[in-house]
Symmetry: C2
Subunit: 335 residues, 2 copies
C-alpha cells in the first residue's frame, strides 16, 4: 500500500498524491477530492521511513529513561511528553536500565545509539550513569543536541536540574525548626559518586545540620530501582540502629512513605516521636497517613526547560548550559 496505489486509483501521478498529502503547491478541488477518496478507500497512510529518508523532518525527540514504574521518572516523562507534543514534536522512548543493574553501560549506550539510528532530532537524557559512560554518550551525540535532566551534571552538556543544594538546606532547616537533634539521612542513588546530583542535597543537608549541632548519620541506597523489599530492609536496619533518632530525611518520597509506614507499625508516633521528610513531591506523599512533608521538585518546569533547551539547540540557537529550578518545602503532617 504505497503512494503509487493511491495515485493509480485516483488516476493521477504520485507527485499529486504527495501534494495533497502535504497540502503543498496548487491543487484543484476535484483532484484533492479524488485523491482523498482513494486514500480513504484504500486505508492508506504514508510511510514515515520513506518520508524521513527523503528529507522530511519527522520532528521527534528521544528520551532515555531507566524505568517506567518509578513515579518520579514517570511523572517527569508525562510532563515531557505533554510539552513536546505542544511543540508539535513527538517523543521516542528508549529504556536503558538502572545504574544498579547489570550491563547498564551497554544498555545506556545502546539506548542512545538506538535513538540516533532512528534519526531523532534531539535527546533528553534522564538516566543515571557514571561520568565515563556519559562521556561516551556525549561523543556519540556529536551532531545531535542532548540535554540532561535530573541526572548527572557534566560540564560539557546542557543540563536542567533542581536546586538540590537548596533542597537539602530546606530539609535541614525544617527538621531543625521542628526541634530535631539527632537525625538520619538516607541518600539515594549515586551518592557515592562525585556527582553534583544527589550529592548536593545530601552534602548541603549534612553540612546544614552540622552547622546547628544536629547529629546526622548517613545511609546510602544505591540504585533508583523500585525494589520495595530492599528499601524496607534498609529502613528496618536504620531504625534498629538509631532508636533514639528524632528525624529522618529520605531522598525520595517512596522511601519516605515506606519509612513512615514502618515507623508507624513499630509504634512510633509521627511526627511526635520522629519527624520524617521526603523528596520529590510526587503524589505518593498524599497517599499515606499522615501525609508526607517533602521537598517538591518542579516537574513541569523541568520538563519545559529541558524541552526548550533541546528544541532551541535543534534550531541552532545558543542556550545556557545549565538551568536550575527552585524546589519548595511542602509541609504536611509527618514533621
Amino acid at each position: 500500500m504505497t503512494i503509487m496505489d493511491v495515485a493509480e486509483r485516483a488516476g493521477v501521478s504520485k507527485t499529486t498524491v504527495s501534494r495533497v498529502l502535504n497540502r503543498r503547491g496548487s491543487l484543484s478541488e476535484k483532484t484533492i477530492k479524488k485523491v482523498e477518496d482513494a486514500m480513504r478507500e484504500l486505508g492508506y497512510y504514508p510511510n514515515e521511513h520513506a518520508r524521513a529518508l527523503s528529507g522530511v523532518n519527522t520532528k521527534v525527540i528521544g528520551v532515555v529513561i531507566s524505568a517506567f514504574n518509578n513515579p518520579f521518572h514517570s511523572e517527569l516523562l508525562q510532563q515531557i511528553h505533554k510539552v513536546v507534543r505542544q511543540c508539535d514534536y513527538s517523543i521516542m522512548i528508549a529504556a536503558a536500565s538502572d545504574i544498579s543493574e547489570e550491563k547498564h553501560r551497554e544498555r545506556t549506550i545502546g539506548a542512545v545509539e538506538y535513538l540516533l539510528s532512528k534519526q531523532v532530532n534531539g535527546i533528553i537524557f534522564m538516566n543515571h550513569v557514571e561520568p565515563e559512560v556519559f562521556e561516551e554518550v556525549l561523543k556519540k551525540c556529536q551532531s545531535t543536541p542532548i540535554v540532561t535532566v535530573l541526572s548527572i551534571l557534566s560540564s560539557n552538556a546542557p543540563a536542567v536540574f533542581s536546586d538540590d543544594r537548596q533542597g537539602g538546606i530546606l530539609a535541614a532547616k525544617h527538621l531543625r525548626a521542628k526541634g530535631c537533634k539527632k537525625v538520619v539521612h538516607v541518600s539515594g542513588a549515586l551518592s557515592g559518586f562525585p556527582y553534583r546530583y544527589v550529592d548536593e542535597r545530601s552534602y548541603s543537608f549534612i553540612q546544614e545540620c552540622e552547622k546547628y549541632g544536629i547529629s546526622v548519620r548517613n545511609y546510602e541506597y544505591s540504585g533508583l530501582k523500585m525494589d520495595i523489599d530492599k528499601m524496607q530492609s534498609l529502613i528496618g536496619r536504620i531504625v534498629s540502629e538509631n532508636l533514639d533518632m528524632d528525624g529522618i530525611f529520605l531522598s525520595n518520597d517512596i522511601f519516605a512513605a515506606q519509612c513512615v509506614t514502618y515507623a508507624h507499625s513499630l509504634g512510633y508516633k509521627i511526627p511526635d516521636d520522629i519527624k520524617i521528610i521526603g523528596y520529590d513531591g510526587t503524589y505518593i506523599g498524599t497517599l499515606i497517613d499522615p501525609p508526607l512533608s517533602t521537598i517538591q521538585q518542579d516537574f513541569r518546569g523541568l520538563a519545559e526547560a529541558a524541552v526548550k533547551t533541546v528544541l532551541d539547540r535543534i534550531d541552532g540557537k545558543e542556550t545556557g548550559m545549565k538551568v536550575m529550578l527552585p524546589v519548595k518545602l511542602i509541609e504536611r503532617k509527618t514533621t
Copy 2:
C-alpha cells in the same frame, strides 16, 4: 554521515560496508577491520529509516497508552518493555489520552496512525476507548496485528485480560468472610459503558454481595486520570453519605490508599471499623499503613501473553482470541 563516507574512508564499496554491518556474505579479515575502523573513526551508525525502507524488519512493536504516571499502566508498560526486549524487539510508545479527556477519540486514532506510519510490526493497545472508537482503530489495523490488554473487550480483536469477574467475587467473598454487612463499591473508569472490562469486576462483586444479603452501594469514578483531588472529593462524599458502612471495595489501589488514609484521618479504625480492599496489586498497597488488602493482577503474565500474541500473529500464526489470567487475593491489613 552515510555508508558512503565509511566506504570511501575504508577504500571499499558501500556494498562491502553493508556486508560487515550485517555480517553477511564472505569478507576477508582485513576488510572487516578496515571498515570497522572507519566506522569507529567516523562515529558512524546506520540510518534506520533507510534500512527499514530497503526492506529490513526493524522489529518494533507499538504500544498505545493513555498516561505514564499511573502506577497501574506504568507497571504494565515496564513488564511489556522487558518481555519485548527479550524477544529482540523494541517498543515504540504512542501516548493517546484518557477517556475522560477532551478529544480522546482523535488522540487515540492519531496514536494508532502514528504507530502505523512508523511501520510497527504490531500493536499492543492498552488505552480505554469507546467501542466505536476501537472499531475505527481495528479498521486502521487491517494488516497490522493488534492485541488489547486491560482495555476493552471486542469480539473482533485478540485480547489479554485479568479474570475480573473472579476478582469481584474474591473481593466480595473476602469482605463477607470478614463480617461486612453494608458495603460500598467504587467502580472505575468506563463502568458506565457496556464493556466487559471494569463491568465484570463491579457486576460480579455486586451480584455476589447481594447473593449473601450484603447491602451494596455503587459509586462511579470516570476516567483513569490520576486526579488526586477528584478522587479525594469523591471519597469524602462517599464517607459522609455512608457513615454506617463497614466495607469498601475500590477499583484500584491508589483510590483504595486514598480511602484508607482519609478514613483514618476521620478517626475510623481500620480494619476494625471498616474494611477496605483495593484492586491491581501495585506497590502502592505496601506503602500505606496499614498495608492494603487487594486483588492482584498478574502484570508479568499479562505482558507475556500480550507480547506472545502479537508476535505470533506477526509470524502469521493463529492464536487464541482471548487470554484470561487469574487474579489473586492478597490479604494484608486493611481487611
